[in-house]
């Protein structure tokens, strides 16, 4: 009897804690608020990227503090997807159907993004800007692109092409090698690098694939070392980059490493590589967090005030960057808000400049930019800006019809 009572108490607790079956889907806004959602890993293997989703929350808090947009406050919903596509989909559906969401922003999980992109488009929910290059509209091979998804994360091909140009023209390297993760992400970088080198009648001295789960890279590093590569591009995950740098340290190989933007959180990379990351150059789609840029400074001060417990870093800043164009479009639309009006304004973005590279969108092009900055990790994980926003003049997607 006692146990039964305990069980019944538990049941009552569940009923309190669990949400009741929600009402039918609502419109994404009303006179008081605009509802914006995001899914992303707050727990699980990709939890460090969770700062992206929380960064967007800072921007919305700031907007609300300044009075909202045309009298409406932004109501922000964040759902932890645990980096699982099924949980991401459950979270997105719950938000759209229980709360009514006007637009999504960010979302750093590639698989989760692919799992929900059809659902969001089918429900005419905007997605500005997905937090992963995997969700770019170029890869959809669809003309015109999906009207509801607006992207600005640079393609891996474009990044690699720009940094290769820098390595050849600014640093004067003749022997370049390429270490890449054996998947679409790594191969994308390899394509961009080879395309750029071909424009100089050059070829890679060595291209070395690695599997994402490999833990011993000694043979791969020896191949790179024996090729005589004085500069090596690295299109691998943070874990593999740590193994790479530590292996190279042990075999006495010290090329100029150049990496993709995912390794541009220098304080973190500096710490997890035990200082070996110092001197590594990376592409970056986010300006240095310690930059004196007025916009960066404004957000940095806001973070100190509104989210003092957060680490002010690249991922957090990226969340703001992904959400900025949506806020700008909402401001441009005016009080008569609608999804169509918002799409119209987003399609009229021409070299619009927020935190990141200038963005241009049109009805036929929803890949907003091909530009990246080039940064270098300085002492103690500090940021050194080497080159401001640079477009990929060889980008093939811009000429495709």
């Amino acid at each position: 009897m006692k146990r039964l009572s305990c069980f019944l108490v538990l049941v009552v607790c569940f009923l309190i804690v669990f949400p009741c079956s929600g009402s039918a889907a609502r419109s994404g806004f009303d006179d008081e608020e605009i509802r914006i959602g995001q899914f992303g890993p707050q727990t699980g293997p990709a939890a460090p990227w969770g700062a992206v989703a929380r960064g967007a929350g800072l921007l919305f808090d700031l907007v609300n503090e300044e009075g909202g947009i045309h009298g409406r406050k932004i109501k922000y919903y964040l759902r932890d997807d645990q980096y699982s596509p099924s949980v991401a989909q459950a979270g997105v559906r719950e938000l759209v159907e229980r709360h009514g969401i006007f637009a999504f922003t960010g979302g750093v999980s590639g698989a989760g993004g692919h799992a929900v992109k059809g659902y969001l488009a089918g429900n005419e929910v905007l997605w500005v800007v997905p937090g992963t290059a995997a969700l770019n509209t170029v890869a959809d091979n669809q003309t015109p692109p999906s009207p509801y998804r607006f992207c600005s994360y640079p393609l891996f091909e474009d990044e690699a092409s720009v940094v290769t140009k820098y390595a050849v023209e600014k640093l004067g390297f003749k022997k370049i090698g390429f270490l890449y993760q054996n998947d679409v992400f790594g191969k994308g970088g390899l394509t961009g690098c080879k395309q750029r080198l071909a424009s100089y009648d050059m070829t890679l001295v060595e291209e070395v694939p690695v599997e994402p789960t490999e833990k011993d890279l000694a043979s791969q590093m020896l191949r790179l070392k024996n090729s005589g590569a004085e500069c090596a591009l690295m299109w691998v995950s943070p874990t593999l980059s740590v193994i790479t740098l530590k292996t190279c340290e042990s075999i006495g190989y010290k090329p100029q490493w150049i990496a993709f933007d995912g390794l541009s959180d220098y304080p973190m990379m500096h710490q997890i590589t035990g200082g070996l990351f110092e001197g590594v150059i990376t592409a970056a789609f986010v300006p240095p967090p310690d930059s004196g840029d007025p916009l960066v400074s404004k957000y940095r001060e806001a973070a100190k005030r509104l989210a003092p417990e957060e680490r002010w870093g690249t991922f957090y800043l990226a969340g703001i960057l992904f959400a900025e164009p949506l806020v700008e479009a909402l401001r441009r639309v005016g009080p008569d808000l609608s999804t169509e009006a918002c799409i119209r304004e987003l399609n009229s973005f021409k070299d619009w400049k927020g935190l990141g590279a200038p963005i241009t969108w049109s009805a036929d092009n929803h890949q907003g930019t091909d530009s990246v900055q080039i940064q270098k990790c300085g002492p103690g994980g500090s940021y050194i800006l080497l080159q401001d926003w640079t477009a990929n003049d060889l980008a093939t997607w811009k000429t495709k019809k």
Binding site: Q42, P85, S86, A90, A134, D183
Partner: protein, 356 residues
């Protein structure tokens, strides 16, 4: 009360008129569910039903045969990838594809069952764990499986489109009816199997495999059969899961998923079909919906988020989610060793003897 008077009573799937009545009431409830539930909940129900199929299958292996598996996500993946690839690459109709994918999973289950003849407990757990991880990595390395970027499931057509007989299930509700029918068939199938010679052989192996062999139970046949049947259930569940999700990658079928499947069976109650159903439903619900919306509740949400950020980490309420999920699982295992099935038995007895 539940005393069996002859053999035929013992093997009846519906043991009494009352059970038959409530079973049909449950079916009626399940078939009318979409009328009063919003679409999001139907999606959640689809996931729950897929997990029910898998958990019932896993329970045949773990609960009834006494073997362990930490590799069921591998069979689940074989089902998902197998069904989608058979349909997209070979144009196989859905039902043939999902059965074939289930049989492929069953074949791998049979192969994994062979070492089970010599391995027990933690050793078998490691062998099956290795299988699950291997499947995930093999899928990730082959382009035909979409590599690490994953694959998109085609629109779910349960007809034979090549012959012009197209039956497209293009909504969660339509998919729900397909899944609920398959789930009911497979749950009844499992319950029925446990009442046959095969089921009794499984139980005999669980209780004492040497004694079972002495009695004439062929260990090689029945242990591998148990793995194969369990893998078949996982394969069919995976085939359905692929379409519920629409897109999946190898990481979807990771080790954590295998552990969660095992948790479903243990929390539900080992050696009980009903327990597996309840465990799958509870754990899926906890994983997908626990504490949802609490941070949007006035006052309470703000307080909890504040406490979570101050005491734990900056991620906010998700800290509580993980803790709550863990505590609920721990609570059930510690206070109710028979799992949810044990709770159910006690409630049933309480009401049968009420008010005494």
């Amino acid at each position: 009360m539940d005393m069996k008077r002859d053999y035929y009573e013992d093997i009846e799937v519906f043991s009494s008129g009352t059970v038959l009545f409530w079973s049909f009431a449950l079916f009626a409830f399940l078939f009318t569910l979409p009328l009063y539930l919003p679409s999001y909940n139907i999606y959640l129900f689809n996931i729950i039903l897929v997990h029910v199929i898998l958990a019932v299958g896993l329970n045949i292996l773990v609960g009834y045969t006494g073997q362990i598996s930490l590799g069921h996500a591998g069979f689940f993946a074989i089902g998902a990838y197998g069904t989608v690839l058979l349909m997209t690459h070979l144009g196989v109709p859905f039902f043939a594809a999902i059965i074939a994918a289930g049989l492929i999973a069953a074949f791998f289950g049979f192969i994994i069952g062979l070492p089970a003849l010599r391995l027990e407990g933690p050793y078998l757990a490691i062998a099956t764990l290795g299988f699950g991880l291997t499947i995930m990595h093999i899928i990730g390395r082959w382009d035909i499986f979409g590599g690490r970027m994953g694959i998109q499931a085609p629109p779910l057509d349960i007809g034979i489109p090549q012959w012009g007989l197209s039956v497209l299930l293009d909504s969660d509700v339509k998919m729900y009816y397909l899944i609920v029918v398959i789930a009911i068939i497979m749950v009844i199938g499992a319950r029925n199997m446990m009442k046959t010679r095969i089921g009794r052989a499984f139980v005999a192996i669980r209780d004492d495999d040497i004694a079972a062999e002495v009695m004439g139970v062929n260990l090689l046949a029945f242990k591998t059969l148990s793995f194969a049947v369990s893998a078949f259930y996982a394969g069919v569940a995976g085939g359905l899961f692929g379409f519920v999700l629409g897109f999946f990658d190898p990481f979807t079928f990771n080790l954590i998923l295998s552990i969660i499947f095992l948790v479903m069976v243990v929390v539900g109650g080992l050696g009980s079909v009903l327990g597996a159903v309840m465990g799958a439903a509870l754990i899926t619900y906890l994983q997908y919906d626990l504490l949802k919306n609490v941070d949007e509740m006035p006052y309470l949400g703000d307080v909890l988020v504040w406490v979570s950020r101050k005491l734990f980490t900056v991620i906010g309420l998700e800290n509580f989610n993980s803790i709550m999920l863990g505590l609920i699982m721990l609570g059930i295992v510690i206070f109710e060793p028979l799992g949810m099935f044990g709770i159910w038995i006690r409630i049933k007895k309480y009401w049968k003897t009420w008010p005494f």
